[in-house]
């Protein structure tokens, strides 16, 4: 009855590409590597499109079980893929943006060593990300989850000869492990209490529980633990510290993994487990609070950053904060909507930034840029589109999604005006630092040495051969993705949040619809039923919200213009005026240092003093050494039996044989 979609091919294709490039790439020419990588990634994209086309004909959710994986008693986990509206959206975003970024990367990395390695990793990432999205149970999702972590580690440390890159990779990996720890415990709890990790089964078991019972503990715990995992992957407070450092990786990586796709995995996971969160108000609130704080916090840091990619990194964090806020107020569809648009414009921003860096020859400090808008018009215009999009100006994509989030933050029963206020302020900050970046980069006069390229390259490890000082536009292969993404970030939002919401409704309200018939519906359906937005009632005030947020964005634009174009000296004065606070913000609130003091140092010292000197050397090595000494002493005394004389050996053997015979006969006699 259901057409077989062969979903399994979608993750598999990039894996094949990764395998080919990784195993044989060393011998292949760059063209061949490019061909393979693009072919398989594009094939995955094509299949995703195919799925989307025959999508309306499908009875959703569509599950495709490939094989049994684990069977332990009643517990069972399969290699099964799961397709519904949510995963379809993610599928399209990931494959589409991923494909574009692949194309871009061809131009960006062309001169690099380890070209094949890069694309093999990139395809590998695609494989794991798609597994994560299409997984039909938490376990398979976790595989993808860990896999993208691995891919991101490999790609951050792509220039592994550079200390900063290597350590950044390690940092990302370790911090993610903390989050995964929480995720794992959540999974164990689910297994223990629901005996399954399959989405359908778990949710079917979960949804009869009403918040009063659920919030009594289990679901809350699970939710909070899942949140920990999401925080690790999506760089939320307190686990966001790895993302800025992750900018050590090549820019396409930053665009693909650390802006568009991987970091949104947390949001996807929370949205996917919405059933649990809706029944755990405390956890839900925690999500909202963390999201909100992160949004504000990261935005403030972003204001002071001077490294173009760092600014984008912090803006990514804060946008993710927005999505979490949306999840926290149970506006999952809004979160996913923002996820999508954010994938467009943030990917575009990074790519454009990469193009800029490429243009000025590896320079990343905005203070040494400026006036580039005539030198690299294509990059300029695409960047402009993205900037307006993220700042939330209509009719750009960001506007619709961010607007929807803010509106829900206020109106939804889980929300409150505090979220909204902070959200609006963050929107202001966002547009401020984005336009700051914009002005600093493209307006004014060029502040960098024309041929300051070379050392800049070496420092940033960016393509060395770009170091011919003249500022130049990027090649076509890099511009095409920019343009496409620009178009998307302009029109990406025109579907409108309501339609999007309705599109996703079967996912987020499916179980409740089933529930209507169920008796459990009778006791407090409202508690079970998540707030479905009633746009018509809130109609007028929504426009008010819209006006407010847009004006906030405009305010940011004006301030940025004033400070960085009109009165370039003003920022220093303000900085002096603010003094310590400015320093704190400039140094990212010393969070890294704080973590170092709180966690890293004690850990290192503890392992050195107790584990290494104490246990390892004191106990284990000592045991081994003394054992060896004892053996030597004993053998010193015994080895005189080894006279080297054949007959004495034979004598011993004969004695032993006689003893054995005697023993056996004694046994037999008894």
């Amino acid at each position: 009855m259901t057409p077989n979609l062969h979903l399994w091919l979608i993750p598999l294709l990039p894996l094949i590409g990764a395998a080919i490039n990784g195993l044989l790439g060393r011998r292949l020419s760059r063209q061949a590597v490019t061909g393979i990588a693009l072919a398989f990634c594009g094939a995955a994209f094509a299949m995703a499109l195919g799925v989307a086309i025959q999508f309306s004909a499908l009875p959703l959710p569509y599950t495709e079980a490939l094989a049994h994986w684990i069977r332990a008693g009643t517990f069972q986990a399969d290699f099964a893929f799961y397709l519904d509206q949510l995963s379809l959206v993610m599928l399209l975003v990931v494959t589409g943006v991923g494909f574009l970024i692949h194309i871009y990367a061809v131009g960006y990395m062309w001169e690099e060593g380890g070209f094949y390695r890069f694309f093999s990793y990139l395809n590998l990432f695609m494989f794991f990300m798609l597994t994560l999205i299409l997984a039909s149970n938490y376990l398979l999702m976790f595989i993808g989850w860990e896999g993208v972590g691995l891919a991101s580690y490999l790609l951050i440390g792509f220039w592994f000869t550079k200390d900063s890159a290597a350590s950044a990779g390690k940092k990302a990996f370790v911090v993610n492990r903390i989050g995964d720890f929480g995720f794992l415990i959540a999974l164990f709890l689910l297994i223990k209490h629901f005996g399954s990790l399959d989405f359908d089964q778990v949710f079917r078991l979960v949804q009869p529980l009403s918040p009063e019972i659920a919030s009594a503990g289990l679901l809350t715990t699970v939710g909070l633990l899942l949140l920990v995992g999401a925080c690790g992957k999506s760089a939320q407070i307190p686990l966001y510290v790895w993302l800025p450092d992750a900018m050590e990786g090549p820019t396409p990586v930053s665009a693909l993994i650390h802006a568009a796709t991987m970091v949104t995995a947390g949001v996807y996971m929370v949205a996917r487990s919405h059933v649990i969160f809706e029944r755990a108000p405390i956890a839900l609130t925690a999500v909202a609070i963390i999201g909100t704080l992160t949004a504000l916090f990261a935005a403030t840091i972003g204001v002071c950053q001077t490294d173009i990619k760092k600014v984008l990194a912090y803006s990514t964090i804060s946008q993710l904060g927005y999505m979490f806020m949306a999840c926290g107020v149970a506006a999952f569809s809004a979160a996913i909507f923002h996820l999508m648009t954010h994938a467009f414009f943030k990917g575009l921003l990074f790519l454009a930034a990469g193009s800029v860096i490429h243009a000025v020859g590896g320079e990343q400090d905005m203070r040494r840029m400026g006036g580039l808008r005539h030198r690299i018009p294509w990059t300029f215009w695409t960047m402009t589109a993205a900037t307006f999009a993220i700042a939330g100006f209509p009719p750009f994509a960001g506007f619709f999604s961010k607007d929807a989030i803010l509106f829900k933050a206020f109106t939804s029963p889980h929300g409150s005006w505090v979220y909204w206020a902070i959200g609006v302020f963050t929107a202001f900050l966002t547009s401020f630092y984005m336009f700051r970046l914009w002005f600093l980069t493209f307006f004014g006069e060029y502040r960098g040495a024309e041929s300051a390229g070379h050392d800049g390259h070496l420092l940033s490890g960016a393509p060395v051969s770009h170091g011919h000082g003249a500022i130049h536009e990027s090649p076509k292969v890099m511009l095409v993705p920019l343009v496409i993404l620009a178009v998307l970030s302009v029109c990406g939002g025109w579907v409108g949040s309501e339609r999007f919401d309705r599109f996703l409704a079967p996912v987020f309200h499916r179980l409740e619809f089933k529930l209507v018939a169920a008796p459990a519906f009778l006791d407090g359906p409202h508690a079970v039923m998540p707030p479905t937005p009633e746009p018509n009632t809130e109609g007028p005030s929504e426009t008010a919200f819209t006006l407010i947020s847009v004006s906030a964005a405009a305010l940011g634009l004006l301030l940025a213009w004033l400070l960085y174009l009109r009165r370039p000296q003003l920022p220093q004065e303000i900085a002096h005026a603010l003094g310590g606070f400015y320093q704190a913000v400039l140094n990212k609130y010393y969070i890294d240092e704080l973590y170092a003091v709180l966690f890293v140092r004690p850990l290192v010292d503890g392992s050195t003093k107790i584990l290494w000197h104490g246990i390892d050397q004191g106990v284990i090595d000592a045991t081994v050494d003394h054992g060896a000494d004892a053996a030597r002493k004993v053998s010193d005394s015994v080895r005189h039996m080894q006279s080297g004389n054949l007959r004495s050996y034979a004598g011993w053997v004969a004695l032993g044989a006689g003893a054995v015979i005697g023993y056996m006969i004694w046994i037999g006699a008894r």
Binding site: S643, N645, R647, S648, A650, G651, W652, V653, A654, L655, G656, A657, G658, A659, V660, I661, G662, I665, G668
Partner: protein, 173 residues
């Protein structure tokens, strides 16, 4: 009755030869006494109705292996052995141990299986049936032993061959 006598006679020869092997100081005498043992063992086999085994015993053991021994003795021109005191362990522990084991087993044998008796020719071993066993039921072991023999041949050649590149024999103090 006749068979018992024959058994005892040749058994006596066996034991005598074995003991002689021990007491003789010159290897060639030991070798000859061992040949005597083997010959009389062949007769014992005949008593047990295993004609084929008996003949093969004579051909292989007496005819081939022992010839090899005698050959080596002649080749190395081995003289009477000197009674060195290499190892007291062998005498002090080994011999008593052996004696203990053998006496115990002999005791058990005489005590338990003394009743049954073997009829002469009770079960003649015609070569055909043995061949049947050897080439059907025990085919795999047979082939394996053939491989073993092959390896043994090569090993013997390698070991005994004079390699000029080999270092000159050194005196062992």
């Amino acid at each position: 009755m006749l068979h018992l006598i024959v058994f005892l006679v040749f058994g006596a020869i066996c034991v005598a030869g074995a003991v002689n092997l021990l007491v003789q100081s010159h290897p060639i005498n030991s070798a000859l006494s061992l040949i005597a043992v083997m010959g009389s063992l062949a007769v014992e086999y005949l008593l047990l109705g295993a004609e084929f085994v008996a003949v093969v015993q004579v051909i292989i053991y007496a005819g081939a292996i022992m010839v090899l021994f005698v050959f080596v003795i002649m080749l190395l021109n081995a003289g009477a052995e000197e009674r060195t005191k290499g190892s007291q362990v062998a005498l002090i522990l080994g011999v008593p141990g052996t004696m203990l084991g053998s006496l115990l087993s002999a005791w058990v044998l005489l005590r338990h299986s003394g009743t049954r008796s073997v009829h002469v020719g009770a079960m003649p071993g015609p070569p055909k049936e043995i061949a049947q066993l050897l080439f059907h039921d025990f085919l795999l072991p047979f082939e394996v032993t053939s491989i073993l023999v092959l390896i043994a041949i090569m090993g013997a050649v390698v070991l005994a061959a004079h390699s000029d590149s080999a270092p000159q024999p050194r005196k062992e103090g």
